[in-house]
Each structure stands twice: as structure tokens, then as C-alpha cells.
């Protein structure tokens, strides 16, 4: 199992807006997300499709690797979240992050 260092990196490269905007790196792709909605819907809007079933934190289908950065959960998901992973359906991105699917 990969261990995650929950390091947040500085956001000086990003413009200061009313709503916090963070970068999400997925392989060579990068998208910008806000803290207003969970990651899953924002990925979908950006045309990046990931697996889902319940979309409310109990099935763990949308589990992805969190390589670095911070996310938080407005409510604690029912699914077991392995260390170094996150649930895209209910996690709010709190810093720039990098995620990955299967090895």
C-alpha cells in the first residue's frame, strides 16, 4: 500500500478568487476545481470519467489514489477508505492535489 504524505503545496501560482480554486493533476492532465462540490462531478464536467455507483460514499467504486494534497469530507463516508486513497464522490478538494487510477 502506498503511504500518502498529506502535504499541501503553495498556491501562489493561482489567482486569488472569492471561491478557492485548486489544481487536480491526473497523469498528464490537469483541471481546476472549486471547493463548492465534490471532486467526482467536477471531473465529469471536465470530461474525465471515473467509476461510480452510489455517489454518496458507501460503495467505494469511485476510490482513487491520492498521491499528494489535501481533501476533506463534509460527512464521514460509510465506505472504508484505504490509506493513500480518496472517494471522489464525496471528497472536497482543499489544496492542489494529484490523483491516479490503477497502477
Amino acid at each position: 500500500m502506498t503511504q500518502t504524505s498529506m502535504t499541501s503545496i503553495s498556491k501562489h501560482a493561482l489567482p486569488e478568487t472569492k471561491d478557492q480554486v485548486h489544481r487536480v493533476l491526473i497523469g498528464k492532465k490537469q483541471i481546476l476545481v472549486t471547493e463548492e462540490e465534490p471532486l467526482l462531478v467536477q471531473l465529469e464536467r471536465a470530461g474525465i470519467h471515473i467509476e461510480y455507483q452510489c455517489r454518496e460514499g458507501y460503495c467505494s467504486s469511485c476510490s482513487v489514489k491520492l498521491l499528494w494534497g489535501h481533501v476533506s469530507y463534509p460527512f464521514e463516508p460509510l465506505a472504508w477508505v484505504q490509506s493513500g486513497y480518496m472517494l471522489a464522490c464525496c471528497a472536497i478538494v482543499k489544496s492542489d492535489i494529484e490523483i491516479a487510477f490503477f497502477d
Binding site: 500500500m1 470519467h49 467509476e51 461510480y52 455507483q53 452510489c54 455517489r55 454518496e56 458507501y58 460503495c59 467505494s60 467504486s61 476510490s63 460509510l78 465506505a79 472504508w80 484505504q82 487510477f101 490503477f102 497502477d103
Partner: protein, 377 residues
């Protein structure tokens, strides 16, 4: 060490392990060692549904119009689902209740098993609606070789645990000669190992085997066939997603040692065997796919695609219980399944046929074009 339905000892259940501690006495939930199990109970209860809510009259017509090899796929898949839920409707109760030590987990096991009995009743509802003689279908489940092979692999871990626990409850620890079975050694590590492997095999049943069968059910619905059946399977899939989370929690709690330090050692020792349970089940599911499609494929689904889905879903489930992935398939070959699996409380695809909450006694499936004759735009 015999089982008591009301343990007279005074003890703090929050200090007990999940299994093989004291028998539960007071069913109290004011103090909990693992509150997750009560959350699962609440979620499961909020999902309550009855098969009779889903209208299947169109499915009967659809079924009659299916080609023969498609009827074989549909019925075999349904027989397999019936087998799996027959096992799941009783086994968590029979195998786990005598050894559980936490009230919230005991009640989760009962709630979980109960929901499986709803699934079993829904298969009868489906079969009654699509064929004239349900007996032929049910009887084949215990005689068809392809199905009975699978019955053995889904029940053997349960059966072994049940046997060992019953010896333990009557005889205690030691090595006992059981007529017809030879010497059976009963010790706490052996019991815990049997338990761990049972939970792993249940996770495989619910998180891998069931999903393969869901893919077939939804394969028909993708072609707008057998949609009533798909609505029922959608409700079943929502329950199973919760159940597999339950067994993932049990396995991960055991492996972490936070619940019972001895269990962490056993989990580590069983890693290879657990991996084999996943891989073996995946191979069986691929063989099953070949059997299903032996006389022909259907649009959108064949033995090869279903086999890739088996590999993909097995990888996902292995990773969720801390195992390395095993198969090369890293992408879901049938991404359309997500739209069918998605739970209703989030309406992403608002077509009526896909939203079962619209269906509670509401739909009229006998509409045709003439019903709109007096509509003018």
C-alpha cells in the same frame, strides 16, 4: 464454551473483539465499539423495498420474444443469482451470529441477511412472471452441473466455519475425530483463520460474483429488454454495494489489529490464501461467462467482454481489502453499467425506466401509441 442466547456475565462489550469474545447479552446501542455497523444498519433500513412494487408485465412479453440462446443467458444468470442469495439469506446468520461479540455487529448481520431474503423473494417474483412453470427453473439450480459447481465454491468456507464452531461449542478446544471427516483440530487460531477466510469469500461473493451477474441483467436492459428485471436488480445492486462495504470493514478492521491483535497476525498469514480466493473466483466467473454465451452472444455483451469485466472488478475489490491487483485489465470494459448501478437518490439519468423510486405502484406498463391519439400539439 457453549453458546448462550443471553450471556449472564457482566462485561463491557466495547472491550470485546468483533468475533470470538463474549456472547452478546443486552442488545444495546448506546455504547459501540465500531459505530460504522450501526450506520450500515440505518442505511440498509432506509433502502427497504418490496419486489411486488416493480411491474413485470412487459418483461413476460420481452422474454417470449428473446432468441433461444438469449433465454438461456437470462435464465442461467437468474438461476445463479437465486443460488447466491439462497446462500446469503441464511449463512451470515447461521455462521456468524453464534460467534459475534458486539451488539451493533450482531444486528448488522441480521439486517444484512434479512435484506438478502428480499432478494430471494424477488427472484421468485421475476420467475413467476416470465415463465409458466417456475419449478423447472428452481429444480435446475440443484441439478445443473454448471450451477452446482458454483454452489460448492460459494458455500464451502461458510460450511467449514459452521462445522468448526459447532464442534467448539460442544467439545471445546482439541483435536476431535468426526465420523466421515477424520480429525479436526479446534483451536482459537484455527477458528479465527476459518472466520477470516469466510468473510473474504463472502466479500468475493457479493463484490465480484454478484457484479458479474448484474452486468448480464443490465446487458438486456441496455437493449430496452427485461427492464422490470433490471429495476429489481438495480435495487439489489444498491443493497449489495452496502453489504460489500460491510465485509470490507470487517476484513480491514481484522487486518489492522485494532479490533483483535491476534486477528491481525492471522490476516497476515492468510494473505496468500485470500488472494487465491479472489483469483480462483474470477477464473470461475470467466468459465461461467463462457457457459452463458456458449450458444451465442448478445449485442453489447459476450464471453470476452464479460471476462474483462470480471478481471476489472476483481482488481478493484482486491485493492479495497489491501491486496495487490492481479489482472492486467485496469479499465472497465462496460462503462455503461454505472448508469444502471447508480443509486436513485442521485438522479443522473432521469429516464423513467431507470428510476425505481418512480415505480412504487405508479406505472402503467400497458401504454401504447394509441393512448396518445387525442393529444394535439
Amino acid at each position: 464454551m457453549s453458546y448462550s442466547t443471553f450471556n449472564r456475565k457482566h462485561f463491557d462489550s466495547t472491550k470485546e473483539p468483533m468475533f470470538f469474545g463474549e456472547n452478546v447479552n443486552v442488545a444495546r446501542y448506546d455504547q459501540q465499539k465500531h459505530p460504522i455497523f450501526e450506520k450500515l444498519i440505518e442505511k440498509q433500513l432506509s433502502f427497504f423495498w418490496r419486489p411486488e412494487e416493480v411491474d413485470l408485465s412487459t418483461d413476460r412479453k420481452d422474454f417470449q420474444r428473446l432468441e433461444e440462446h438469449e433465454q438461456h443467458i437470462f435464465l442461467s444468470n437468474l438461476k445463479y443469482q437465486t443460488l447466491l442469495d439462497s446462500v446469503q439469506g441464511r449463512s451470515p446468520n447461521v455462521a456468524l451470529l453464534p460467534i459475534v461479540s458486539l451488539p451493533e455487529l450482531e444486528t448488522w448481520i441480521e439486517t444484512w441477511s434479512f435484506s438478502e431474503t428480499i432478494h430471494s423473494r424477488s427472484y421468485t417474483h421475476i420467475i413467476r412472471n416470465i415463465v409458466n412453470d417456475p419449478t423447472k427453473i428452481f429444480d435446475d439450480i440443484v441439478t445443473n452441473e454448471e450451477i452446482t459447481k458454483r454452489a460448492d465454491s460459494v458455500s464451502k468456507y461458510y460450511d467449514r466455519l459452521i462445522e468448526m464452531v459447532s464442534i467448539y461449542n460442544t467439545m471445546g478446544m482439541g483435536t476431535f475425530n468426526i465420523p466421515g471427516k477424520g480429525d479436526i483440530e479446534i483451536s482459537m487460531p484455527k477458528l479465527k483463520k476459518a472466520l477470516y477466510l469466510t468473510v473474504a469469500s463472502v466479500n468475493v461473493l457479493e463484490a465480484v460474483r454478484f457484479y458479474v451477474s448484474f452486468a448480464c441483467s443490465f446487458g438486456f436492459a441496455e437493449r430496452t429488454l427485461m427492464e422490470g428485471n433490471a429495476k429489481i436488480i438495480k435495487l439489489i445492486a444498491r443493497d449489495e454495494a452496502l453489504h460489500l462495504t460491510g465485509t470490507q470493514h470487517m476484513l480491514n478492521l481484522m487486518a489492522s489489529g485494532k479490533d483483535d491483535p491476534e486477528m491481525a497476525i492471522i490476516a497476515e498469514e492468510c494473505k496468500e490464501e485470500m488472494r487465491n480466493i479472489f483469483v480462483e473466483a474470477a477464473e470461475q466467473e470467466k468459465d461461467w461467462a463462457t457457459y452463458l454465451f456458449k450458444d451465442g452472444s448478445m449485442i453489447g455483451l459476450n464471453a470476452q467482454i464479460l471476462g474483462q469485466y470480471v478481471e476489472y472488478i476483481t482488481n478493484v475489490r482486491m485493492q479495497a481489502v489491501g491486496l495487490e491487483t492481479y489482472f492486467p485489465t485496469k479499465h472497465n470494459p462496460i462503462p455503461w453499467i454505472n448508469a444502471w448501478l447508480v443509486s436513485d437518490n442521485v438522479q443522473v439519468a432521469p429516464q423513467e425506466a431507470e428510476i425505481s423510486s418512480y415505480l412504487v405502484g405508479q406505472t402503467d406498463n400497458s401504454l401504447d401509441d394509441s393512448d396518445f391519439d387525442d393529444f394535439d400539439l
